[in-house]
């Protein structure tokens, strides 16, 4: 007599019933899961509320530093620039620092565009502010239009300051090229102050003073001799 014949009939029937019940419960579970997923998708409104915006390409002038001869030269590029002045300032500074982070840069500084956390534009204290109703200037595009000189507060990341090469020339060129780039693209910016992680810092990397207010209208780099 074989082993199958040794299993009682009632046990075999019970096993088959349990197997069928298990399969039925598995199917039910899968069905419930699918319904729950459909309910979740139905409750989430994924309708786009705002069309994605692509800023149009515009000409921007970047004042790029060169370590080799201690100069700052203009370089024109086409960039997608936002209309809001603060974002625009951050975009041009980001592009400038992207150039500095490239391997063959003439002024090698790591960090790139992410090094500029924010740029705030404020009216210069004591300046005359005129309200204008129209105009194509940067200020009018933003807040309705302050026509007076502005102070740009550039908030840099701590990582950028920590990784910036130390040296009088390299730090000075970084600071002055950022000031000159802001002035070239947003002429209303007359003064620039720098913060690092939202706080004042004595120097960028041990040399260039970051506690002072830089005037973009100054002849900031006077090269007397070059060889």
């Amino acid at each position: 007599m074989n082993s199958a014949s040794s299993i009682p009939r009632y046990q075999l029937v019970l096993f088959l019933i349990l197997l069928l019940v298990s399969a039925a419960l598995g199917g039910l579970l899968w069905h419930l899961r699918t319904r729950a997923h459909e309910r979740m998708l139905a409750g989430k409104d994924s309708t786009p509320t705002q069309a994605p915006q692509v800023a149009p390409l515009e000409r921007a002038t970047l004042m790029v530093a060169r370590d080799a001869d201690d100069t700052i030269g203009a370089r024109a590029l086409s960039l997608p620039l936002p209309q809001e002045p603060g974002a625009r300032a951050r975009a041009v500074l980001g592009k400038l620092l992207d150039l500095y982070a490239e391997p063959d840069s003439t002024h090698s500084v790591p960090g790139g565009a992410a090094s500029v956390a924010q740029v705030f534009l404020l009216p210069v204290a004591g300046s005359t502010v005129t309200e204008t109703k129209a105009g194509g200037g940067f200020g009018s595009a933003a807040s309705g239009a302050d026509a007076g000189p502005e102070l740009a507060v550039v908030n840099l990341t701590g990582t950028f300051a920590a990784s910036h090469p130390s040296g009088l020339e390299t730090e000075t060129l970084t600071v002055l090229s950022m000031c000159a780039t802001l002035n070239a693209n947003l002429p209303r910016i007359a003064e620039v102050r720098f913060l690092v992680n939202g706080e004042p810092r004595s120097t960028l990397a041990g040399h260039a003073d970051l506690t002072r207010t830089y005037l973009t209208g100054d002849t900031v780099m006077t090269e007397l001799e070059r060889q």
Partner: protein
């Protein structure tokens, strides 16, 4: 004549008091003249007795400055390089009969105010702040970026250099000529450096960069070395020669109208 009893005693007492007063007055006058004598000698119109140079070795202590690349490949801190250059330059200048004041003689931490205080108290005819870097080539000379201002009896501490910018520019020109004469590439610019901004003397920050690659001239952007002894000696000799020439200029002893010691307002 018969004098009243006690007259001689009173008279002697009065004479003694007068003598003591005269003695005290003489003593006070001598002390006062000893106190104000040296200050008067350093006044705005009196010429300094000796040509004085202040050497400020940048950084020190915890502030190591830039990490320089040496010939052996091992890193060298900027603070050590500037101290060595300061000591070397001091020897050269003393050998040429100049008085030299250094802001530090060892690896100690000094803030910018202490450095400027040392320079201002020395009432020097030249103040050199020494630095080094791995970027660029040759020597970078930097002046204060403060706009030139009229000299006044009292100057704000943070912008004391403003009255000295024309003289600093002249000093930079002399340094530039001497370094170029020695075959060293030079660039001259302006910077915001707290140390020289508070100095009431002709002040120039000198940053020693790696020697220019002869094949690529100054265009080389790769980090080089600054610790080549021959290169350092050439720079020190050129700086010493420049200061000798600067000393021969008759106008260096004429202050711009304010004394270093009076530059202590509004800190």
């Amino acid at each position: 004549m018969q004098l009243p009893l006690g007259y001689e005693t009173r008279s002697r007492s009065v004479f003694t008091r007068i003598a003591i007063c005269v003695f005290c007055l003489l003593l006070s006058a001598a002390s006062l003249s000893a106190l104000i004598g040296p200050a008067a000698a350093q006044g705005p119109t009196a010429p300094a007795a000796r040509f004085t140079v202040v050497l400020d070795a940048g950084h020190g202590g915890d502030d190591v400055g830039a990490n320089l690349t040496t010939q052996t490949g091992s890193p060298e801190a900027e603070k050590d390089f500037t101290l060595a250059l300061s000591i070397k330059l001091r020897s050269l200048l003393k050998a040429r009969g100049m008085a030299v004041v250094t802001t530090r003689e060892s690896d100690i931490a000094l803030d910018a105010d202490r450095r400027a205080e040392t320079a201002d108290q020395a009432a020097a005819q030249a103040c050199l702040s020494l630095h080094a870097a791995t970027t660029g080539a040759g020597v970078h000379l930097f002046l204060s970026s403060l706009p030139p201002a009229q000299a006044s009896k009292f100057a704000p501490w943070k912008t004391a250099q403003a009255a000295w910018v024309p003289k600093s520019l002249a000093l930079a020109g002399v340094l530039n000529s001497a370094l170029r004469h020695a075959g060293i590439p030079v660039t001259v610019g302006r910077t915001a450096l707290t140390t020289i901004d508070s100095m009431a003397c002709p002040a120039v920050a000198i940053e020693v960069a790696p020697e220019a690659n002869p094949d690529n001239s100054i265009g080389a952007n790769a980090p080089g070395v600054v610790d080549d002894p021959a290169y350092d000696v050439k720079i020190a000799d050129a700086l010493a020669a420049a200061l000798v020439e600067w000393r021969s200029d008759g106008s260096v002893f004429k202050n711009s109208g304010q004394r270093g010691g009076e530059n202590h307002e509004l800190r």
